[in-house]
């Protein structure tokens, strides 16, 4: 029997569902055993990957963010996945959304990862703060937020109604800050990196504008100060926030609490409204990748591909974690189309805004560093938005050389 060493960074609802999937796989495949390790998300995970690959101690298969693909390629930690490999997994490139295949390939078109899902941030709502206002329609669905003014009006209203942090997101965290910033930037029609240039032209103004909005939310006491990830979630679940901007992966948390009746309010999740003029939402993809230099036997490689293929085909269970499957047969299935609340925000797939394709972007990249080291301090008042935008530009530009 083959033992497949598996690394992931999946915690929270993701982690629970992935563990369940692995268990199911192991049950169904007596000849293959997945032995999984879960490492801390973000920098620690990618540091470990890098070090382990360097010393030939990497796993057989691992989860990887497609946003990080260029960086991963530059670090040379990813093996290519050939057509034969895909065939072994009973997959082909055509089974996936073209965008995700492009994101998983290098310049020459060689595939380095198998996309698994698309995930983005969404807007969670605590309806109790909006009751009787114009922001809830007859069915109790969120409505009437078509621009920034509307949203801020809703925030002010929630504040009035006693919400201590009307819109919570992880303001003290690289991921949380970055995702909101990037969403706002994209909604302004901005670009982070164009042709190897960081914030060229008026993109700088747009970045400053995005930071300015976040700063205002801070100054008005609408968003929590320096919230760590867990705290930002807890603010929402404990009923202190009217809105919560976070990844779809927290959907199961809400669902679970609702079933257990510990949530204490009516909740909903919608696509991030168009606040700045363009509809856009930050998105990323999880994918499976094989570390470089493992020199695994053909049998082992086949087992690994079997794992990947199986996971893709069973990604409906993964969609349970709020994600949109990257594997078209599942994504287009009726079962998925009926899944709630995914259906509510599945439209975002069209407006998903991925990280720029650059070796300084993606999870645990200099861009994320900039979020925690520049944007987060800026919105907490340590520098003004314009300054922050300039600093982002100079800092990242220097990394690009």
């Amino acid at each position: 029997a083959q033992e497949v060493t598996w690394w992931d960074f999946l915690s929270g609802g993701d982690g629970v569902r992935m563990k369940a999937l692995i268990e199911r796989f192991n049950d169904e495949h007596p000849d293959i055993t997945i032995s999984g390790t879960t490492l801390e998300w973000g920098v620690p995970f990618y540091t470990k990957v890098r070090t382990s690959v360097a010393v030939g101690q990497g796993p057989d298969v691992m989860t990887y963010h497609l946003s990080r693909m260029p960086l991963g390629l530059e670090e040379e930690v990813l093996d290519t996945i050939s057509e034969d490999d895909l065939a072994a997994a009973e997959l082909s490139k055509e089974d996936f959304f073209p965008a995700s295949i492009a994101a998983a390939s290098d310049e020459k078109g060689a595939l380095h990862a198998v996309p698994f899902d698309i995930h983005s941030i969404v807007l969670y709502v605590n309806k109790s703060y909006l009751e009787g206002s114009r922001f809830l329609d007859g069915d109790g669905n969120l409505t009437g937020i078509d621009n920034l003014e509307d949203f801020e009006e809703a925030l002010a209203l929630a504040k009035e109604n006693g919400s201590s942090a009307p819109v919570s997101y992880a303001t003290g965290d690289d991921g949380g800050t970055y995702r909101v910033f990037f969403t706002l930037l994209k909604q302004l029609g901005g670009e982070l990196i164009v042709d190897g240039e960081v914030l060229p032209g008026d993109n700088m103004e747009k970045a400053a504008k995005a930071i300015e909005v976040m700063t205002r939310w801070h100054e008005n006491g609408w968003q929590p100060e320096q919230a760590e990830y867990a705290a930002s979630v807890a603010l929402f679940t404990s009923g202190k926030s009217a809105f919560h901007m976070n990844g779809v992966w927290e959907v199961p948390t809400m669902v679970d609490m609702e079933t257990k009746d510990t949530l204490g309010f009516d909740w909903g999740a919608v696509q991030i409204p168009n606040l700045m003029g363009t509809t856009a939402t930050w998105a990323d993809s999880h994918a499976f990748a094989i570390p470089a230099g493992t020199n695994m036997s053909p049998e082992k490689r086949k087992a690994v591909m079997t794992v990947i293929g199986w996971m893709e085909k069973n990604s409906l269970a993964w969609a349970n974690a709020g994600h949109i499957p990257a594997y078209k047969p599942v994504a287009n299935s009726d079962a998925f189309k009926e899944m709630e609340p995914n259906a509510t925000y599945s439209s975002l797939a069209e407006t998903a805004a991925y990280d720029p394709r650059s070796a300084i972007a993606g999870v645990a990249s200099p861009v994320y560093d900039a979020a925690i080291n520049i944007i987060s301090p800026a919105m907490h008042g340590y520098m003004d938005p314009q300054q922050a935008a300039e600093q982002i530009k100079s800092e990242l530009q220097s990394k690009l050389q």
């Binding site: 609802g13 490492l39 010393v55 807890a234 927290e250």
Partner: protein, 276 residues
């Protein structure tokens, strides 16, 4: 005793108890947090008085993480480190203290100097070395760089030096050699210091974070201090679970400490040379 002195004593006693209570409050708070449900932890009015006794987060921690594996790794590596450090340190200290051989002074000089050398500064090349030897993700890799504990040699030497010369001569007259002397006389004579050094070495290696964190990449090889930071296997709000993992991680040594408190106290004093 005069009345003011009595009063003073009361204030002193009360004051130091209060200070000690404040000092240990974080541990208390961690415990209170860990026996609450996650919802309770972040709800308003979750005060310092325990109001729930819910062990679910402990159950989670024990069975949804690899805590038991980490315990095993920690115990095994710490025990091996302790044994090897003590035995090699004892032998080396004996030779330095009791025998005459070329290079003796130099060797002791090196031992004294390495007391000041920051081994943390060597992690990069130690890591490379472990990789060259194929010891990444192995117990041996965790253990090897922790085997240099010069203070063990220094303390042993001091104690061996203090064994009267006659003890050695008596054995020589009886026809015993150096191994007899070391293992039949010097070692049993210094059981006290041996246990003291063992305790200190064990605590030190049990609590080691930086090196195991570098040299281990797989969950199955992690030690307790590394494991509990690398994995936050919980979702949404996980403070109670975090605290129970932390407390479980600290538990074995903490319990051992509370049982052998006197011994540990003495061990620290002896091994730092303040008390002989």
């Amino acid at each position: 005793m005069t009345r003011t002195r009595k009063l003073e004593n009361w204030i002193l006693t009360g004051g130091s108890l209060l200070a000690a209570a404040i000092w240990t409050f974080p541990l208390y708070w961690a415990f209170i947090t860990s026996i609450r449900t996650e919802d309770r932890v972040v709800s308003d009015g979750a005060g310092v008085v325990p109001d729930e006794f819910n062990l679910s987060s402990y159950v989670e921690a024990l069975f949804n993480t690899k805590l038991l594996t980490w315990y095993w790794n920690s115990i095994a590596t710490s025990v091996i480190i302790t044994l090897v450090v003590l035995i090699s340190g004892m032998m080396c200290a004996y030779a330095i203290s009791q025998m005459r051989f070329p290079g003796r002074r130099l060797l002791y000089g090196i031992v004294l100097a390495s007391f000041m050398v920051p081994s943390q500064a060597l992690v990069v090349t130690q890591f490379i070395l472990m990789n060259d030897m194929g010891l990444i993700n192995t117990w041996a890799g965790i253990i090897l760089p922790q085997l240099i504990v010069p203070v063990v040699i220094i303390v042993y030497k001091q104690f061996f030096d203090a064994v009267p010369k006659e003890m050695r001569e008596a054995v020589v007259l009886d026809g015993g050699g150096d191994y007899t002397l070391l293992f039949k006389i010097y070692l049993p004579l210094n059981w006290g210091i041996t246990t003291a050094l063992a305790i200190i070495t064990f605590i030190m290696s049990w609590n080691q974070f930086f090196w195991p964190f570098l040299v281990v990449t797989t969950e199955n090889m992690m030690t307790i201090p590394v494991g509990i930071t690398q994995v936050n296997d919980a979702f949404g709000v996980y403070y109670a679970r975090l605290m129970s993992v932390a407390l479980l991680g600290a538990m074995p040594v903490a319990i051992a400490y509370l049982i052998f408190q006197k011994k540990v106290t003495e061990a620290v004093m002896i091994s730092s040379g303040v008390k002989g």
